[in-house]
Symmetry: D3
Subunit: 270 residues, 6 copies
């Protein structure tokens, strides 16, 4: 099991649990975090026994977003030429984006379990996950607007696919806080659980359910939904037909069919 400064990674059965682990800093995302999240998901992606991932925050909160020291430091790297600074900034932003792209492109479903603060960069993070669940009193805010900037690590690109366009703009323009109940009503989280403990056990139950399915079928399903977000229905139909041309020759289909006939549960290879 890999070890990190800012993440706590555990594996139980086929479920990996990644905790953001700077509880004394409200799990603010520092330089190490942005690197380690990439390493952690690289490990997830190549570890066959991991079939599904849960992301949560250690301590009282999910995360307060980007560590402001990182922003301060970034500005200290600037030189004299505005054009060359622009290039440095652009590449820095692209690099930060990579840290959440790995969640989006991870072949395995990633579920966010959110309690306490989920602010700024943390919204960018959960927008890149497959599903989100929270406590009723979780505290959300698209805080970037109050930093005098347009959010640039994924919120403005991915969140509009999760909530209605009108509410999206209200939240992004005003930065107003909203809780887990409202998040559930707007579709940002699938449902709320009464408290942190129930949240974790509830999310683990969903994760366990997913982990029991054919891993090939789950990965194909994630790829297709992700692809559909950015392509036409027609392109998507062609893609799944091409994908399944190989995948329907897998043993998993036969295993599932036999289990179905025998009214048993199929036991799929990793």
């Amino acid at each position: 099991m890999p070890e990190y400064q800012t993440l706590l990674v555990e594996q139980t059965g086929n479920i990996a649990h990644i905790q953001i682990n700077r509880p004394d800093k409200v799990n603010a995302m520092n330089k190490a975090f942005w690197e380690e999240i990439i390493q952690a998901f690289d490990w997830v992606d190549r570890t066959d026994s991991v079939r599904v991932v849960v992301v949560s925050g250690a301590g009282k909160h999910f995360s307060a977003g980007i560590d402001l020291q990182l922003l301060a430091q970034a500005s200290s790297e600037m030189g004299k030429d505005i054009g060359r600074n622009a290039e440095i900034i652009r590449r820095n932003v692209l690099r930060l984006q990579t840290s959440f792209n790995v969640i989006d492109t991870c072949r395995k479903p990633v579920i966010a379990a959110i309690h306490g603060y989920c602010i700024g960069g943390a919204i960018d993070l959960i927008s890149a996950c497959d599903m989100r669940y929270s406590t009723p009193d979780a505290h959300f805010s698209i805080k970037e607007i109050d930093m005098g900037m347009a959010a640039d690590v994924g919120t403005l690109q991915r969140l509009p696919h999760l909530i209605g366009d009108g509410m999206m703009r209200e939240l992004a323009y005003t930065g107003r806080a909203f809780d887990g109940d409202e998040a559930a009503r707007m579709g940002l989280v699938n449902r709320t659980f009464a408290d942190h403990a129930e949240l974790l056990s509830g999310v683990m139950a969903v994760a366990g359910e997913i982990a029991s399915k054919s891993p090939l079928a789950i990965r194909g399903t994630k790829e297709m939904i992700r692809y559909s977000r950015d392509h036409s229905v027609e392109d998507g139909l062609n893609y799944i037909a091409t994908w399944n041309a190989a995948m329907l020759q897998s043993e998993d289909l036969k295993l599932a069919m036999m289990a179905h006939m025998a009214k048993k549960t199929a036991d799929f290879a990793d």
Copy 2:
């Protein structure tokens, strides 16, 4: 009126009612069904007096999805070369997709009235319809995941346009059942009606309302909404301007205007 083995087609006024008609097999979709649905919608599309279509299931259920015998049979057609098998599978999947594409591209609105089981392939089917209504106790499930495969007849491409991305993934990854009430809350069905009888009469009322409008205007509206799903707002605006360049020269506009002034109901040609 055309006759089919697996479908029962009736026309009342300008409404065609297509029932999946294998009630003793929970309306499972066998080989004949996949062919006949194409023929039925071909008939719908070229029959001017049909202005709107209702699809429902005969007996106690909407449909249990693809007939598993079809899958078994498909695997018996396989040869020895993995590459050539892949090509056969790919083309088979594309052919199955065609059976629901005809619903999506049918020029006339198609409304699904759902009661009982609506499982697997049946979700693919209703995702291709214009609107969906159900009883509160209708039983839905994206069942393909339990067959060890990623759904490949349209659910993963069209359903994300109907329900939130987060719920979409939960349902597709877990295959968990949900009822008509939950379907209504997530926007999959527009509303529920108390029981099967009320469902059918309610849906027929909506269909009747649509059938009373200018057929040209209805077909243009469907085409535009369908086109908008896969194109930019700008492309969509240009398309409707080009489309209406001819259509606004139709008599229907004048008929509607005169009826409006006379506070009467316009009577449009097919």
Copy 3:
């Protein structure tokens, strides 16, 4: 402050309030309106002190949509050749679309405050706004279908991004009326306010909140959300990185950061 025949424009602080001002005609959109709305938003876009716009209707209603005299007049411009008429119609439709495109592309957020009738062309208008709020008894209808035509000024392109596809089609095919409460449930309006007075003060409060943020950051945020609607997540991420390459060199970021540390409110330049 510019003056118009059909619009009443006022500026309070950094908020511009544009009222459709033909109350005796239920604010029907006549020839002058379609021109003046372009001029008004041109003024908004180049006036630095305007940071956010509220659009509402003078009198008892938001607007009854396009003035039917305009349609009648359009048909009087037709010549003898169907092809050349088609070209004239196509260009007229494109010109009408421009009148609401200026709302969509306005760099500053535009909020619709809706009471009374909001019908036909008025739905096209509010679909082009950033957010919508209404009274509970506001009366909405996609009325074009009853004029024997497919709506062609933006409703069929923009509304599907605001409400579910299934409800979208029901409303567009039937033209049935729905009120503010239903509009809120389907996500068309963000929330309702008890009556016209509360609506206006509520919307002004939201507008004021937005006006207090960094104008550069607000404009960047609007541009990104708008862009995301029509582009892939990947293209959107690249775009914000390029955009912020310059914008993160602005003083606003530093101002915001200092205000945050001092627990004060930043005061941004226009």
Copy 4:
């Protein structure tokens, strides 16, 4: 071997030769032709032993394009309502397009061998083929402009991918004739052969070369080039990776490798 009124189809080894066969009418494309071309390519696509197709014209010319009687007849089907006529025309055009789309989407390469007239609809046809070869004195013209219409069966969509945009517009706006030599210089034909006999034997040699390759690899190659025309490089790279996931498990790869090592020619299954 299927028989047709307007086509002469022969198979030699793995090569199908389809001749347009109305030499006394300069191979003008009548109603039967537009149907039979679909049937012929359906036969090609499902006949495993056909690996490549050559299309040419019987008699002295390739084809003079659409039979003008067909246009006359189409106008006789028109009714009174401009809007309904528009819908009929639109669907007729879409149907004609299908007749050349089957060439474009045929899984097997299609080579046009052109001598004599190749005019109007014949340009649409050859634009949908994979490659084109001609005699030096072949006579080409985008003749639709002289019929008072914009070409609508594929020339304006596919030809810009074959020749430079500037020359494309000159030829489409003026309808001026050009010969095989000029066609070769602009890249419309790959090369010219001295006369009709040499053309046919030259094209058959190219076809024979293609027929000797792995049919799976040829079909994959065609699909990829076709797909690249309308998709981004990134989408194309992902598509071939998915496609080859199955295809690289074929025996053809091993056969080719062994033949390569043994310095022999591989003999691939159909």
Copy 5:
């Protein structure tokens, strides 16, 4: 006939001739030019008797590109905040782009006749035209690279559709000069004429040929080729079918057909 400071506009028959008219400044594009070109093409687009446009340079050259004074002036408009300056620059560039977009979107074909210098902004201009012809000794250069900037008025977007990607990059990276003969070989110009006089009479002959065709058909053809550049073949086919649904009901088709039968030249209305 409109009069301009920087343009000389003449109409002969159905051909408008627009000359860039600052011969003592090598036709450098100053502030007035960028405005007037918009006005001139607005006039072209709404003047029915103009069916085709020729653009050339008065005096010894086509144009030396943007007037450097304009760049100097632009930098004097800059304020103190880098972010706000960025917004001003971005909008200035978008406004300059509009001046050549009007050529691209003009409904009527625009032909460039090039002699002498054609440098920097002049390449942007001719890239937006339909066709280009030149003298053999015309002198071309993508000069922006020597101004320390990436060309931003259209060259980098439109030129890759006209010449090969490899040559495109060589010319854009090095700014090296090339003459009319090389331009013809790479497809930038359709052909060269021996000298300025022959160039103008040759281009006028092409323009006259185009002006003799059905104006509706020409405009439809331009729209389709333009659309094909940025859309898939499938989208393009659907678009022409929708377009021609109205246009094939025009008299021009019948006129052309009758003229064809009578072996006469059709005389089309504007």
Copy 6:
């Protein structure tokens, strides 16, 4: 300067020269090569003093393409399940593609200097470069078809942007060899140089010319041309306007302007 097993990297002034360095194996691309090319371009991209890259082959040839041992080895990694093998293959192909994507996305122009064999994977490589130059007797072939497979490392996606579609298909279907002269005629190489020595000095001269320009402007130009390949003209225009919003505030513009006025050569910072 980094050192590699399969590459020889030298820097002269601002030009990096990367030689494929397995001359005794005809520069076949083995496992190490595919990794090291990524490392080399990572070094190029982050080394400010490198402004342009030349890629060539050590010894008598450019490269014979992928090392067949690599293919053999890949097949030895296969397991028993066809579906899981498909996933392994798909990811392997995507990884190989990455090795040439780094050339395509490298911010700095990459020029291929080709002599001797340039076969199979080598065509994929040069297709990802900015420009290509060769000797007249260079020997090219899209050899993958003779390995029983569709090329999957970029040729089928990038080459159609470089040469005509008709020739593209002939070469990809037949795998026939062609020399540098023919490559120049079809636009694959920009020009030929008489022999290997002249080729290298000619290419170095072009590289030197590029290295003398503003590096910011060169990188912006490459990004724009690359972006235009996969986006609409309109998207491209918006992108350069956003890009230049920052870049036109660079000192390079002023330096270039002053140098231009003083008729000197500007000396730009890295």
